[in-house]
Symmetry: C2
Subunit: 230 residues, 2 copies
């Protein structure tokens, strides 16, 4: 059966940095599912018309087409029950809250640290599009948002409870990684692929967790090319 | 069977404001368990010697004695399986992360808003004890910590993901309240019982959620006396 994840790429086709796509890559590995990626750029909207959607990730699983990273994780749990990602009921609802925490509290702090590096990692043909859409969304120039020192301070505050949990637990979801680990990892991997900036102090639990996350599932994420390589 | 929750009280025996005890009150109601409270003050350590512990809440459930609010919630799930509070596996682990979010990101912001009112709500015989222990823990005078404007700003930032979830879900745990609702509610109720300060903007989802939480379980929390009453 053909399994495809449509995956954002940047100035080099090997640079894959979408936080939402990284959620899905790790989730596919968690389920032990083989797949190939289809490289995609921001403005290739027609290429996703079959999915009635304009963003990645898009998962094609045989006859089935699923959009949105969280919906893809839900779909994977519903279709491949072994090794839950989000789980059911209370577990899934709490993963949804954590997803919002990642998107509203963690990613904005990361963006302040890496935004100019992110722009440089994007395909040259997409940079104007990226700048225009993002500046409209945040209401300021990317150069004004850019503030690594403030971004790190904001990130450190947001991560206080995450660091507290990782003091007592090897992964966010317990003894092994699962859905909430992939939700947070996606955002860290996004920043890591596009930028050499220090995100968090090496001595913090979340820094050690990120290293472990690069190694899980046969080092899938750790092997991915970053701006250090290409 | 005798069921007792040892419960902190303040300058009036009817003022019950411990955030950890409020978690337990709502959890007992969630399980439909009748109980009585035993009023307790900070320095009545000998009164808890039977539990080999020095803080409330302490639950006495017949022959069983359980300390620590989260452990009590776990115990209630293990003993009274109907209507899970924390749930199992991923659900419980994610509730633990949310507990740390409440304790490390939400409660410190609330404390900056209400700390002087809290001091005034404490029993006169306990105020020196409270000041001494808290000032040692936070490394500053309570008067320096007190900053309702900054506290509200800090609280608003911390609650961004909570408000986003409550835009799409009536309670944190879904269609009905459960463990994570009680974890957050405990801290809001603590501030609400001791202070008239505005905590969050009335128009925010979390403000509407707090009103709903005062009404659940036959208005158990909404009936509790606050500094508005005594």
């Amino acid at each position: 059966m053909d399994r495809i994840v449509y995956d954002l790429y940047g100035r080099d086709e090997r640079l894959r940095f979408s936080p939402y796509c990284w959620r899905v890559h790790l989730s596919m590995a968690h389920k032990g599912l083989a797949y190939r990626t289809e490289p995609w750029r921001f403005q290739q909207k027609e290429k996703l018309a079959f999915a009635d959607h304009d963003k990645v990730p898009v998962l094609v699983d045989g006859e089935k087409v699923v959009t949105d990273s969280f919906e893809i994780m839900r779909y994977l749990d519903a279709t491949y029950a072994e090794a839950p990602l989000l789980g059911d009921g209370l577990a899934c609802q709490r993963a949804l809250l954590f997803k919002l925490f990642v998107e509203r509290s963690v990613s904005p702090a990361l963006l302040r640290i890496v935004v100019m590096d992110l722009l440089a990692a994007i395909h040259p043909d997409d940079r104007d599009y990226f700048r225009r859409t993002r500046e409209a969304a945040i209401g300021m120039r990317l150069e004004e948002l850019h503030d690594p020192v403030q971004g790190r301070e904001q990130l450190k505050k947001a991560l206080v409870p995450v660091n507290a949990l990782l003091e007592q637990s090897p992964f966010l979801d317990g003894q092994a990684p699962a859905g909430t680990d992939y939700l947070l990892f996606g955002s860290f991997m996004w920043a890591h692929v596009v930028s050499r900036e220090v995100l968090v102090d090496d001595a913090t639990p979340v820094a050690r967790w990120f290293e472990k996350m690069l190694a899980v599932h046969d080092g899938m994420a750790g092997r991915a090319p970053t701006v250090r390589d290409v």
